[in-house]
């Protein structure tokens, strides 16, 4: 592995953690660039799109990486370890707060939109995404978490099981439930 002009782009996550332990600032920078956006999106969906709380928790996650890198087991997958920290912080947040709804402006579900033009297609897409976000909020935390990790962040069922501390069968059943519920909520949309 060469340290190229771009820094540590060719390094794996585990190698970056080792470099970070030795005081390599660029290694931390690379890790942040790789995972900050995805992790922020996950936290937004888990915390009902509360941007302030999502930013706070994102900062907490990376601060823990900086101050306690020894907690990372090099034999473990870094991505699952990172999401585990975020999931545990979300659980703590759930316990501290009552269920709150985010500030997402939903769309009237009775409206059925279908069109052949591009502009209307874009509008349709935008409305669908908003409806999806709203429907996610209605899900239980565990189901929502399973759906977000699988279908938005692209983790495998094994990784999700590791993060949630459950077996793969349990993760599958949660995913099945979340998809069914969401599809029923978005049934009115004539999907293109």
């Amino acid at each position: 592995m060469k340290v190229t002009k771009e820094g540590f782009k060719d390094f794996s996550d585990e190698q970056l953690m080792l470099a970070l332990k030795q005081g390599e600032k660029l290694a931390f920078n690379e890790l942040y660039l790789r995972y900050s956006d995805k992790l922020y999106g996950y936290l937004l969906k888990m915390l009902w799109y509360n941007e302030v709380r999502a930013q706070d928790l994102l900062q907490d996650v990376f601060t823990k990486i900086i101050t306690q890198p020894h907690l990372f087991d090099t034999n473990r997958n870094f991505k699952t370890w990172l999401y585990t920290i975020a999931a545990n912080l979300c659980k703590n947040e759930f316990k501290r707060n009552e269920v709150r709804k985010g500030t997402v402006n939903g769309v009237e579900n009775q409206v059925a939109i279908s069109s052949d033009t591009n502009v209307e297609k874009e509008v349709h897409e935008r409305h669908f995404r908003k409806a999806l976000d709203e429907a996610l909020l209605k899900l239980d935390n565990k189901h929502r978490e399973a759906f977000v990790l699988k279908h938005i962040d692209g983790l495998s069922i094994k990784e999700i099981a590791d993060i949630m501390g459950a077996n793969e069968g349990t993760v599958k059943s949660r995913l099945f439930y979340a998809i069914k519920k969401l599809s029923e909520s978005l049934q009115i949309f004539e999907l293109v």
């Binding site: 592995m1 900050s36 922020y40 999106g41």
Partner: protein, 245 residues
């Protein structure tokens, strides 16, 4: 392959095999539900990424600087291949430079052999039939001023004179032997005073000449050696030398 991968790969519910339909039974059991779930998954995965605010990054970098105030210099993870080649070449070069020096210093015979291999100094030519010319002493390059004064000597010395020279020894510097021992009794009887004196003078003259020539020969020999080993003419020798005209 999990159930969601099956849904991603197939476009229609009818394309599913019996076993696949069995696996997806809890999710969908007809074309409509299959299409809806497929679309939902596509939209969820194609969602636009969320951008993290810049101030979060800046705050985290400040935390890092506080936690790691002294940052290590970057050490390359790997050395390119040519780096090893250059390092090996440098080591070989050093060995080649140092090894001969250490060998010469530890083995004096090698140094001697080195001296033996040096070209021989030019030897004196065999000039038996030629008059020997005195060569002027040339001052050594390192000593611009001659260490000894030039000796006034005859310009030429014939070879026959040298052959008649008795071997040089220190005894010559002592008082000469009595002349009477070398002169026949008949001469002594005829010319007591003048002849005796003349003979004595002649002998003395011969002895001085032989001394002088011996010094000269010795000097020539010394000249062939190195400048350091040159035999200087001592002041006592200079006293005994008289110019011959």
């Amino acid at each position: 392959m999990d159930e969601f991968e099956i849904i991603k790969q197939k476009n229609r519910y009818d394309e599913l095999s019996a076993s696949e339909k069995q696996a997806l039974m809890d999710l969908c059991d007809n074309e409509q539900s299959f299409a809806q779930i497929k679309s939902l998954m596509q939209h969820a995965e194609g969602a636009l990424p969320v951008s993290t605010p810049a101030h979060v990054h800046e705050q985290l970098l400040a935390v890092y600087d506080t936690t790691y105030p002294v940052q290590v210099k970057r050490i390359p993870k790997s050395i390119p291949l040519y780096g090893y080649v250059v390092a090996a070449a440098a080591v070989v070069l050093l060995v080649l430079l140092i090894y001969p020096i250490t060998q010469n210093g530890s083995n004096p015979q090698v140094a001697k052999k080195g001296n033996e291999n040096k070209p021989a100094l030019p030897q004196a030519k065999d000039t038996t039939d030629e008059p020997i010319n005195r060569q002027e002493e040339k001052p050594h390059k390192s000593n611009p001023q001659p260490l000894i004064a030039e000796v006034e000597t005859p310009s030429t010395i014939h070879q026959e004179d040298i052959e008649n020279i008795p071997p040089y020894n220190d005894d010559l510097e002592k008082e000469p032997k009595p002349v009477a021992a070398s002169i026949s009794p008949e001469l002594m009887e005829d010319n007591e005073v003048s002849k005796t004196e003349t003979a004595a003078m002649d002998v003395k003259q011969e002895m001085l000449t032989s001394k002088y020539i011996a010094v000269e020969v010795a000097d020539r020999k010394d000249k062939s050696k190195s400048a350091k080993s040159k035999k200087w003419v001592t002041p006592s020798m200079l006293k005994n030398i008289r110019p011959v005209f």
